[in-house]
Symmetry: C2
Subunit: 478 residues, 2 copies
């Protein structure tokens, strides 16, 4: 059965939610009375379609269908998840929730993107408070995994668990905020930092550029992977966290008393900030800045993915749930790879680095290994295949965002030997590269060649026999 998400309010945040659902295979109904809504959604979707597929080393599910609806009623009927992202006015939100609840399925989750209101405030006067829960995302919603999931005592465990499950299935990280509080958790930090930033600018200490440099060349790099307390734990050394606090806590307290006042947002201060921001970033359009941000985020997230840590571990876990089935048809060449080229695979000239052709063929060989039964459990049992040599022909260039697929042939599969031939194709069917690869079966203990397990060898021989009946893909070059 198709899963339907209803998006109520299609600004930057609502649009980000919409993209997250759509690109994860959900159908999406959008309601937004703004006549500009289609144009705005198109812009967010273009960014998301560029960015999100690059996070993964497998293809995302086929995109769902997007429907623009004329009313809340039309949007929410049949929806499993309803996400409210209308302006931050409590009276407006109450009106929207009442309308939603009049037409929504009784077991639908109604998430609110509010950054400030507590769920109990949102639930006030509702006939079904249990359905309404805060699910506060972070921009860009299609890339950043954090969702602050804030229930009130009126929410049941059932709805909380359901919300967690769905968010996780979208590759997000639902952080269960156990006590409701104004501005939840993350925005309290953002407010504190924002206030300090205003003071520094107002007092002429630093410009927006200098503040951003102080963040991105320093603690921003720490926080992208460990956060605050684990970082400080390390600073405390072997003597532990209590030592850190007693040593540095009082230091940190010194200037506090001077930082308590809130700077008034005068026209003058706003103009000062706007001018500094223009000087810093005004040479780039918002669209360019969005792309720069997204490419950076993908690169960072993919680097953490390779380390299987922090936000990268979340992506790996999500990827496991969307990995395609192993090939089941062998009589033709096997489609081993079907994926998007990520931006961290490209060179300064925008083309895919030569070496990544080799990586794609090496990944294709992994799929062949799994297909014949030499899977993770097999490797854990101490047996595997090692690549002995590969010969790659480069026929056409490709670039970030391109979809490519690989057809693989087992040219030889007997005893310890497995010889593969891979063809990499572009979206339009252009043959972009070929790779002929020799693998030898080894014992991981002795590091020496040995015969595969019997079932693996049988599978290998069967497919090799089938492929021997196809025309040799190397043409006359055997």
């Amino acid at each position: 059965m198709r899963k339907i998400a209803a998006i109520i309010g299609g600004g930057v945040i609502g649009g980000g939610w919409l993209a997250r659902f759509l690109l994860n295979g959900w159908d999406v109904n959008l309601y937004d009375p703004d006549p500009e809504s289609k144009r705005k959604i198109k812009a967010v979707l273009e960014n998301a379609r560029h960015a999100l597929p690059m996070l993964y080393d497998v293809n995302l599910p086929v995109e769902g269908s997007l429907n623009f609806c004329e009313s809340i009623k039309d949007a929410v009927e049949g929806a499993t998840w309803i996400q409210e992202s209308v302006p931050e006015r409590l009276d407006l939100k109450h009106k929207v929730f009442n309308e939603i609840i009049n037409h929504a399925s009784s077991d639908a989750v109604i998430g609110s993107s509010t950054s400030g209101f507590k769920p109990s405030e949102l639930q006030e006067g509702s006939i079904r408070p249990d359905s309404i829960i805060v699910t506060h995302p972070f921009n860009p919603v299609y890339l950043l995994p954090l969702i602050e999931l804030v229930p009130s005592p009126a929410n049941s465990v059932t709805i909380i668990d359901k919300a967690k499950e769905i968010l996780t299935s979208l590759g997000m990280f639902p952080l269960h905020v156990r006590k409701e509080i104004d501005a939840h958790i993350a925005d309290r930090f953002l407010e504190a930092v924002w206030r300090e930033g205003l003071w520094l600018i107002k007092d002429g200490i630093a410009t927006t550029q200098e503040i951003d440099d102080a963040i991105r060349y320093g603690f921003g790099l720490r926080w992208a992977q460990m956060g605050l307390f684990e970082t400080y734990r390390i600073a405390g050394g072997e003597e532990g966290m209590a030592h850190f606090i007693s040593q540095f806590g009082p230091c940190l307290q010194w200037p506090w008393t001077k930082l308590m006042d809130v700077p008034e947002l005068t026209d003058e201060l706003i103009e000062q900030i706007a001018n500094q921001s223009d000087a810093q970033s005004g040479h780039k359009s918002i669209r360019e800045l969005e792309r720069l941000r997204d490419n950076n985020l993908i690169a960072i997230l993919r680097s953490l993915k390779n380390e299987n840590t922090a936000a990268g571990a979340l992506i790996n876990n999500h990827e496991k749930t969307i990995k395609p089935e192993l090939p089941s048809e062998y009589d033709n060449p096997i489609t081993t790879i079907n994926r998007v080229i990520p931006n961290d695979w490209t060179d300064y000239n925008g083309h895919m680095n030569e070496s990544r052709y080799g990586q794609i063929f090496s990944d294709a060989a992994d799929i062949i290994m799994k297909t014949v039964g030499a899977n993770e459990a097999y490797i854990a049992s101490g047996l595997s295949y090692f690549t002995v040599d590969i010969a790659i022909k480069f026929l056409a260039e490709t670039h970030a965002g391109s979809n490519i697929h690989v057809k693989s042939y087992i040219l030889q599969g007997e005893g310890k030997k497995m010889r593969l031939f891979h063809q990499m194709y572009g979206e339009d069917g252009t043959l972009m590269a070929t790779g002929e690869q020799m693998l030898i079966h080894v014992s991981l203990e002795t590091r020496r060649a040995c015969e595969p397990r019997k079932d693996v060898l049988t599978n290998l021989e069967r497919i090799a026999a089938a492929h021997s009946k196809i025309e040799d893909p190397r043409g006359g070059k055997q």
Copy 2:
């Protein structure tokens, strides 16, 4: 002439400075009266030697020599840079500065790692205030580029410029803080965030783990590359920064009035935080956490390096200054590559990914291209070489942190053709892989094969002729 840095105080921060200088080829004199100092420095150096070389795609300069000194006098004599990292007590720092100035060269820069004191406070009562300047680093000092460079009015432009030049030559980013202020810039943000964190824990809203998750899965990822204001500029959309502030500024102001108080660091609160931190990270030793942090930082920094943006652009600029000269000896195989394997090149099993052998050989071909004159200017003029095919033999595995080098032969260099043969060796001289690579000279305009420029062809033919006299590295397999 050897450059000497004196490190006064060898804790985590002083040790990080020491490693930065040493690994950038400076000789380092350390003075620290702590009898444990040698052991502590060894631990920091081990981490730094593991981490810093991986940031770069060329080898760092040969390490300088490290000397443990018995006195400040012995340490500072002849030093170009003197870094003070003693405990945060103003009287102690004054005493140390006086002793330094008694023995230091009059044009040495005396940087202070203080996180709280203003330079004018440090300079009080000094006979040479101009020499003393704040150069506040961030842990781990050997990886994070930010240095807050804070002068007082007593500092001359000469000393400020000299400090900037030296810090930049170490791969750091000196952020010139134009007005001195308690806690400089970055630590004011850290204080604000720390205070909010204490409240959230004290009030039972969130644990250390939950706070860290709120940071590293959300805004931490934004801040690692853009900082605060550029991120918000994007949120403001085409309507600009003033629009963002008028829309979101007041929102952000709402809860402020509740966040003004400073939580008292009672024993109870300290214990609460320490216990939560143990639950979060206690299963890992500090050493393991340091390695995890460093590997994550390297991976993130290298991902930004590949995008040539944010902190990655700094590394690329620094790398240009330490790039080795092009080879000048041709009669033997040319040593094209000499580098460390970074951790983002390894698979889950810790071995270098197959495809990276191809990358190393492709990088080797780049050096050969430059050596024959097909350099960046040549490519900008519309001519280049494209790889047509490569055949790689995998002979041995390698892993992150290993030093490898490549010897390259020009097997054929005539007309449009350049055929190369590369041998990749491990530190112990083991042959780990070979690659035979065919490149064709092309016009980047027509994308078709064409003859190289005459001087390039002449160089190519000359080296190919010299290499034809060496024994064929492929053995009998030609």
